[in-house]
């Protein structure tokens, strides 16, 4: 095809693209409904339409210019998605990068403002949830769409333990996490014989059961009103973060009272737990339990012929995944100091599942990055609130085209012969 012809084709395609965007964005962004009335916001829509059209055109131009095409393809082509085997040693650069990230995340709460701090805590909670679900979906290959149930059990566990027994967070959180684990085990029993789609549907139903239970068992859970925790709820291992009590945190330290002390403390505790859980998950890949899960994901029949008790390891996967979900839930209750059923809808499960898939099933660094990005992205995009959800969708679609197996490739551990 000659250059002229291909440009002609590009113009035609761009025009079609333009029509499609007009069709989508004029009603979607350009018209705002106000009850029975509406107002027109055509400039917003035009901005989007022309922006996207120009981007589409530029991509076409890049594709038609040989000098630009090479590097462009390199970045945006699908990478080989098969897992790769770990190199013999971790490079110095990677080590220092890891150190930098950890050091930064410890310094972070002292330099950012209160609002972003709570966003970061939410991000860490999602990291926690994603690591937990990664065990169930990424390692054991059991598609669990009702993960939010364990998150809810953790959060309600903490809240109700305070509500009925005034139990402190540091005791209530582990109890709630174990409770979530128990619930996870209970769920696992009926679904042990299920695979794939059937499993997904049953777990989906389970998530809804828990939500409905929280909504309707008003005597116990206070129903849709939710459970309100005292403010500040979390304490520095017994020392309250109160403003007025004489032996509270800031008085003992002799510093000025600040609302952020509590949040910084919560953030640091959660960060430590997340780091520990991450390390544990990384180790799991080299432990018989983690390896058996992955084998189960690959081929259950072969697994059984190797003498692996597929029933117990499935139970373990659900239990452990739920345990981490429960910890996440506990911290969620401590962060918001209020829990209600509306925080535990299916959309939360869907979000965590998409984090795990986007990160790359079974890839721990990928899942962590995806969790942070997916929680920060909506906050960063808050200024363009109108198209936030749309952007979110676009990011997901692009990801699935660009890296169908997730952000990062799964790394397989290397085992060398021991020198004897």
């Amino acid at each position: 095809m000659s250059k002229k012809e291909s440009y002609k084709k590009l113009f035609k395609q761009t025009f079609l693209f333009f029509l499609v965007t007009v069709f989508i964005f004029v009603p979607l962004v350009g018209i705002k409904l106000l009850g029975w009335k509406y107002s027109l916001r055509i400039p917003n829509a035009l901005f989007l339409i022309f922006g996207l059209t120009v981007i589409r055109f530029m991509i076409g131009v890049i594709n038609l210019t040989p000098r630009l095409r090479g590097p462009f393809r390199k970045v945006f082509s699908q990478v080989s998605y098969l897992p790769h085997v770990a190199p013999t040693s971790i490079s110095q650069r990677k080590k220092s990068l890891l150190f930098l990230v950890i050091a930064l995340s410890f310094v972070l709460p002292f330099v950012i403002e209160q609002y972003w701090l709570s966003v970061m805590i939410t991000a860490l909670i999602y990291v926690m949830l994603s690591l937990g679900l990664n065990i169930v979906i990424g390692f054991a290959g059991l598609l669990d769409l009702g993960y939010v149930a364990f998150f809810a059990v953790g959060a309600y566990g903490v809240a109700l333990l305070h509500h009925f027994f005034q139990i402190d967070f540091w005791l209530a959180m582990p109890i709630a996490a174990f409770l979530a684990m128990l619930v996870g085990g209970l769920l696992a029993f009926p679904v042990l014989r299920m695979h794939g789609d059937y499993l997904a549907i049953v777990t989906l139903g389970f998530g809804e059961i828990i939500r409905l239970l929280l909504n309707n068992w008003t005597e116990f859970t206070r129903g849709p009103n939710g459970v309100i925790l005292p403010r500040p709820y979390i304490s520095f291992f017994g020392i309250p973060f109160d403003k007025n009590s004489p032996n509270s945190f800031h008085n003992l330290l002799g510093i000025e009272y600040s609302l952020s002390h509590k949040s910084i403390f919560l953030y640091l505790c959660l960060l430590l737990i997340v780091i520990a859980v991450t390390y544990f998950c990384l180790r799991l890949k080299k432990m018989p339990l983690g390896r058996s899960w992955e084998a189960l994901r690959e081929d259950e029949i072969a697994c059984r012929s190797m003498g692996i008790n597929h029933v117990t390891i499935k139970l373990f996967a659900f239990g452990l995944g739920a345990f981490f979900g429960g910890i996440g839930g506990g911290f969620f209750a401590a962060l918001t100091e209020f829990v209600s059923p509306s925080s535990f809808t299916f959309i939360e499960s869907a979000l965590v599942v998409s984090i795990v898939v986007l990160g790359g099933l079974g890839s721990i660094p990928g899942v962590i990055i995806a969790a942070v990005v997916m929680t920060l992205l909506p906050e960063v995009l808050r200024d363009i609130a109108n198209v936030r959800v749309l952007m979110f969708g676009v990011v997901m679609v692009v990801m699935m085209i660009w890296r169908p197996r997730g952000l990062t490739r799964v790394l397989r551990p290397r085992f060398n012969k021991t020198s004897k």
């Binding site: 098969l82 432990m287 021991t418």
Partner: protein, 291 residues
């Protein structure tokens, strides 16, 4: 008839899938430390026998007895047979069955010493070759989550032993170079050998190979025959195999069982089988054309 030196004895085994009678009342023994082959036309029920022996199917009727390290075990009982009316009036029978049904399963079969390979290779494709072999050795490893997380000395020691064992088998089967490759990326011939290595890593007494030479070329088949003989002579395992490659079967096996339409039509030494009129009619006659 059951003899004391048989490791596996199949007694009146019948397997029915709905209307299909896959196995009808077959009986034979597999001698300890021997190579026994099972041959027969497609659909004769060979794989079904294996599936019954390795606990993937529960036979409609009949017993399969296996001489394990812990004594004589009956396969179907170990997995948990279905309840019959008589069980509900005999509590002891009821509770033993219930126990096996709840806590046992096909995985128990490997634990008493039967390993197998599959007709259509089943590897853990997205794991490395060495990991495949480590999965198989899970019983020797320390499952404690704490010692695993902190990589304690004793945990590490056991792990290293297993790695060495895995490398031993890789070496034996000529796969050392591929140790760190993904199992899914191996050439076909190698996947067959890896599956055999994986079965051997579970340290079995009896290994059931379902068409191990299928898809291998002549040279690879030759090598495989050598390895299978080694398994018997060097590692003292009993080999029970299904194979269509007559040259290989006649070469390595001490005893051949011929199955046709779910019935044993002949059994005996290779020489007798070769000259058996029934077998030639049902199977060998066809197979000669292929050779």
């Amino acid at each position: 008839m059951p003899t004391s030196d048989s490791v596996l004895s199949i007694k009146n085994l019948t397997m029915r899938f709905g209307g299909i009678l896959a196995l009808s009342d077959i009986s034979f023994n597999v001698k300890k430390n021997s190579i026994t082959a099972m041959i027969g036309p497609n659909g004769a029920g060979k794989t079904t026998v294996f599936n019954c022996c390795t606990g993937f199917y529960i036979a409609t009727s009949g017993d399969i007895e296996f001489e394990s390290k812990k004594g004589l075990k009956e396969i179907a009982t170990l997995i948990g047979r279905d309840f019959i009316w008589g069980d509900f009036i005999s509590p002891s029978k009821f509770f033993t069955k219930l126990y096996y049904k709840m806590f046992s399963g096909s995985f128990e079969i490997n634990r008493i010493g039967i390993a197998r390979t599959f007709q259509n290779v089943r590897l853990f494709k997205e794991m490395t070759v060495i990991e495949n072999l480590l999965v198989a050795q899970h019983q020797k490893l320390n499952w404690n989550l704490f010692s695993g997380t902190f990589n304690t000395k004793s945990y590490q020691k056991k792990h290293e032993e297993c790695i060495d064992q895995a490398f031993f088998w890789l070496d034996k089967l000529g796969l050392t170079k591929d140790a760190q490759a993904l199992a899914g990326s191996l050439a076909y011939g190698k996947t067959r050998r890896l599956e055999l290595a994986r079965a051997m890593c579970t340290s079995p007494l009896l290994v059931c190979l379902d068409e191990p030479a299928a898809g291998l070329n002549a040279r690879e088949t030759e090598e495989l025959s050598g390895i299978i003989k080694d398994l018997r002579d060097e590692f003292k395992v009993t080999v029970f195999l299904i194979e269509h490659d007559m040259r290989m079967v006649m070469d390595i096996s001490e005893k051949i069982i011929v199955l046709d339409h779910g019935e044993v039509i002949a059994e005996g030494a290779p020489k007798d089988i070769q000259s058996n009129q029934k077998v030639i009619e049902a199977y060998l006659g066809v197979s000669d054309d292929e050779l």
